[in-house]
Symmetry: C2
Subunit: 252 residues, 2 copies
């Protein structure tokens, strides 16, 4: 049963596409096809040049990420992206909204999907490889392993703001072998480490930090929770960095 | 510094490749290339026919999954896979070990990597889309969302065996909005649901069950924790099914 109100106006569905961790050959085949057919590509700052090179020569590429030092309010920036999607779709363009990693892992895709739904704009979402999972395979850090790590938790540096109850939950997870994949800025690290040390108690917890996952410049530093800050001070890693943390989060 | 002992014997590295959730166009470009060049492909039962069709016509395809009713011990089966990889690699073949989803999310890749390392066999691991993340994008269930779900936990039906302390940890996670992506057989569901109901207390928790993620036969059932069993009894879903569970795990 279709309600008239829910019929979409646009000929081509807006495609919200996960661009994966960075390497062009870690895009899905479906993502490559979407990118290669797009009239307009709205892309974030972490989408690599190799990936943007897959766009048609005559495609309009619009950078929608944060520029260093710009004073744009995040809500306003997001609203602007929504309007760009709507405007170009209404003009009959094939619009790709290209997001690094996977759209639904820290990607604000939920907000974009809600906007498109509310405005009766047809769309589809194409999943992508999230950097943490790609890092695990590329560096051989097991995320789960039979009889060892039964679960893996994806979280952010905001973990540092967890209250006591949440931190206790995390402590239990860590003690029972769950790995954490943490997306955060390096500046958050000291605060997170301190909290995790409290949570982990006497357990030895490893941290593997992977910089620029899947790029030719990919680098990895592994140390224990108590040694990782010093390790990253003596060998600073370029951003972005993902962290895999846990009893079994050292390299195989 | 290379130790002679750690030099590998094989010309072509064994490629442990994530085959993604099922649809051939949700393979990564790198995975397609590996599969198309392989002399020998060792594949599991969840790898779709469309994906196997990407193998060379003269490639040797070896099914290494469980056959219904076979009496092979899992440890023995795994050992046999290791030996097949080693044997074909030693014979100069391009070997692809093709695993559904991502190799390091419930894929036993860690065991295979350890074996290859111990036997000085060169290898690489190619990440893949895990079914739970693909399901989220394809059905529009947000896994994380600003100010709502800050984290997402990948776990299995073994959660049902959690002790009280682990269950308390899970309860805290659920109450603070963390989504669970759960890989399990439907037969585990009643036990897991009962445990999660205890853990969730008075919170309304949604369950979205996605059957045969990314296949033309993909189906989705969403209900609350207290209603999901009845919903799946009246509309049984074909295997495999992944479950997304949480305060915000209903469809957008």
């Amino acid at each position: 049963m279709h309600d008239k109100l829910t019929q979409s106006h646009n000929i081509h569905p807006v495609q919200i596409v996960g661009a994966g961790p960075g390497a062009a050959d870690l895009l899905t085949v479906r993502a490559v096809r979407c990118i290669g057919q797009a009239d307009v590509v709205l892309h974030d700052n972490l989408v690599s040049a190799d990936i943007l090179a897959l766009c048609r020569k005559d495609a309009e590429l619009i950078y929608t990420g944060k520029k260093y030092g710009d004073a744009i309010d995040p809500v306003e920036r997001q609203q602007h992206i929504h309007e760009l999607m709507a405007e170009h779709a209404a003009n009959g363009k094939k619009v790709v909204r290209l997001k690094s990693g996977d759209p639904f892992i820290y990607g604000r895709a939920a907000e974009e999907v809600r906007y498109l739904q509310e405005h009766n704009i047809a769309f589809e979402v194409v999943p992508g490889l999230t950097a943490g999972i790609a890092a695990a395979s590329l560096c051989q850090v097991p995320l789960t392993e039979r009889n060892r790590s039964k679960a893996v938790l994806f979280c952010t540096g905001h973990t540092a703001n967890y209250d006591f109850e949440q931190l206790e939950a995390l402590a239990n997870m860590l003690r029972t072998g769950t790995s954490l994949v943490m997306y955060m800025g390096l500046s958050n690290l000291p605060k997170v480490i301190a909290k995790l040390q409290v949570a982990a108690g006497a357990e030895t917890i490893y941290v593997t930090a992977v910089s620029q996952v899947s790029a030719p410049t990919q680098q990895t530093v592994t140390a224990t929770l108590s040694e990782i800050e010093a390790a990253l001070t003596s060998r600073p890693l370029p951003m972005p960095v993902v962290f895999i943390i846990g009893k079994y989060a050292d390299l195989l």
